[in-house]
């Protein structure tokens, strides 16, 4: 595929959303979709300009993003560390894995009432839920990645005199990386989902709060706007990880840009 047709391939993906947007606008203008069900895209855009000017938008996006990323950092790093520990040490796995598998079966959103009792509607509640939500996909996939590293490669590394450190850095970690990325992308989805739910139920700032406030004042355009921004942020995070993946997994046949095909 040439660069030109590649760009065309990427562009064609935007055709459908634009078409849908256009139809939505037309149907709103014709009155097929009434304003109290779904405002027209132009009205949503007007709402966007309004909250942008008032500074509400930037503040709420900032708060939500901070929560998302902090929760991801906390839960992700704990999950990653435990995944590594349990992948590398049988003792560690024997001690913790059964417990973790049991906790995993509790839907983390079911803990919301409990978490509110513990943390109130503080930041702590949101961070806790997000961290808990992202923990498991990252833990499970890190562990899986390490466990499925080709034992023949590990034996090869040993015969060539790699010490434990070299073996980890040059064989085990790179081998587990594709699986870790799968976990990360899965975790991002859970991260936004958890945050939406948590912010909608109890918050005093953030996108979910903005949406709930707007609902109380029947500003349906702002509600729709919040939903769209959630979608956009989710897409942004996913694209970022894809980019990272392409950089880190260049060796992987799935990410190789072949000259032909």
């Amino acid at each position: 595929m040439t660069a030109g047709s590649n760009r065309f391939g990427a562009a064609i993906g935007w055709l459908l959303p634009i078409l849908i947007l256009l139809m939505w606008e037309v149907m709103s203008r014709l009155g097929v979709i009434t304003e109290n069900v779904l405002p027209a895209p132009t009205e949503v855009f007007a709402a966007f300009l309004r909250v942008l000017k008032s500074g509400d938008l930037a503040r709420n996006i900032g708060v939500s993003s901070w929560r998302a990323l902090t929760g991801l950092a906390i839960g992700g790093s704990i999950g990653f560390a435990l995944g590594l520990a349990n992948g590398l040490s049988l003792l560690s796995r024997n001690i913790t894995d059964t417990t973790l598998q049991m906790v995993r079966n509790v839907p983390h959103l079911a803990l919301i009432p409990l978490v509110i009792l513990w943390f109130g509607i503080d930041e702590g509640a949101k961070l806790f839920l997000v961290a808990l939500g992202v923990f498991f996909p990252i833990y499970v996939n890190t562990l899986l990645g390490i466990q499925t590293v080709d034992p023949q490669l590990i034996e090869m590394g040993r015969t060539y005199g790699m010490d434990r450190r070299a073996l980890f850095l040059r064989v085990i970690l790179p081998g587990a990386l594709p699986s870790i990325f799968v976990g990360l992308r899965y975790a991002l989805g859970i991260m936004w989902l958890t945050l939406i739910v948590a912010e909608t139920i109890s918050a005093s700032a953030g996108l979910g709060y903005m949406a709930m406030q707007a609902r109380e004042f029947l500003m349906i355009d702002v509600v729709v706007l919040s939903i769209l921004i959630y979608a956009l942020l989710g897409k942004l995070a996913d694209s970022f990880v894809r980019l990272l993946e392409r950089l880190c997994l260049q060796w992987h046949p799935a990410f190789q840009k072949t000259a032909r095909s």
Binding site: E155, G161, R170, P174, Q250, W251, P253, Q256
Partner: protein
């Protein structure tokens, strides 16, 4: 022209000191005795081929030699090596390249603990040229063909200038033409570098064309220890080779089978 070639090795020089020797080595897995009381001494610089039916313990013997496994009885002694030289390298049936390391870095793995990064890379570059992969330094292993991957594995095994190179059916997975090409390469490199080679193979023709000596393993014992005193380079299909092939096949299958 065959006769003088046969004579040429008969005025044998003083035997080289042993590269390694197995003394009464046995290995069991559970109740199953895989190797029993193996006696085998290989002088430095010799090319030994080991042949035997599937499951007779060839890989086990090689793993013992490489120190990947320990014998249940007996002793394995190996010659001392100089600093900066690896004692033994093993090449497997699969190339076992790191998919996430470029070809040159895969070869440099062979100098782990023996040389610094920059030196390892420079030497890897030179060795790639020797195995016929000049200019492929920066490629990922996934874009190479099976034969090319095995060449990279060979370069990785050789870069540490091992005193013993153990090869466990390294050409088994290759097509017939690539295999012949690799046999030539292996023979050439062995002649110039002078390491001791231990080649496990299923291919009797391959054993006879490459080795100074063929060991046939059967039921965990050395059933035949046959010297092949033919001059090199040897050509596939030469009548002298066929004679030795007959002898080995007769040992493997009994006289009536062929």
């Amino acid at each position: 022209m065959a006769k003088p070639q046969l004579r040429s090795v008969e005025t044998a020089p003083a035997p080289a000191p042993p590269a390694f020797s197995f003394q009464g080595v046995s290995r069991r897995f559970g109740a199953k005795s895989v190797l029993s009381n193996i006696e085998l001494t290989v002088p430095q610089g010799e090319f030994v081929a080991i042949i035997g039916k599937s499951g007779c313990g060839k890989s086990t013997l090689l793993r013992l030699l490489a120190g990947l496994d320990q014998p249940d009885g007996g002793q394995i002694s190996r010659a001392q090596t100089q600093p900066g030289q690896s004692s033994i390298r093993i090449m497997f049936q699969e190339p076992r390249l790191l998919p996430w390391a470029r070809v040159v870095d895969n070869v440099a793995v062979g100098l782990t603990g023996l040389a610094g990064r920059a030196e390892a890379k420079a030497r890897a570059h030179d060795l790639l040229a020797q195995v016929g992969l000049a200019g492929r330094d920066g490629d990922w292993p996934s874009v190479l063909s099976g034969g090319q991957r095995q060449r990279v594995a060979l370069a990785r095994a050789l870069i540490g200038q091992p005193s013993v190179l153990a090869l466990d059916e390294p050409l088994g997975a290759l097509d017939a033409l690539t295999r012949i090409e690799m046999q030539h390469l292996l023979g050439r490199i062995w002649q110039t570098q002078g390491f001791t080679a231990v080649l496990v193979t299923h291919d009797v023709a391959e054993a006879v064309i490459l080795a100074d000596r063929v060991i046939v393993l059967d039921a965990g014992k050395v059933a035949l220890d046959l010297a092949i005193p033919l001059a090199r380079p040897r050509r596939h299909g030469h009548p002298d080779l066929a004679l030795y092939e007959q002898k080995i096949l007769a040992q493997l299958f009994g006289d009536e089978a062929i």
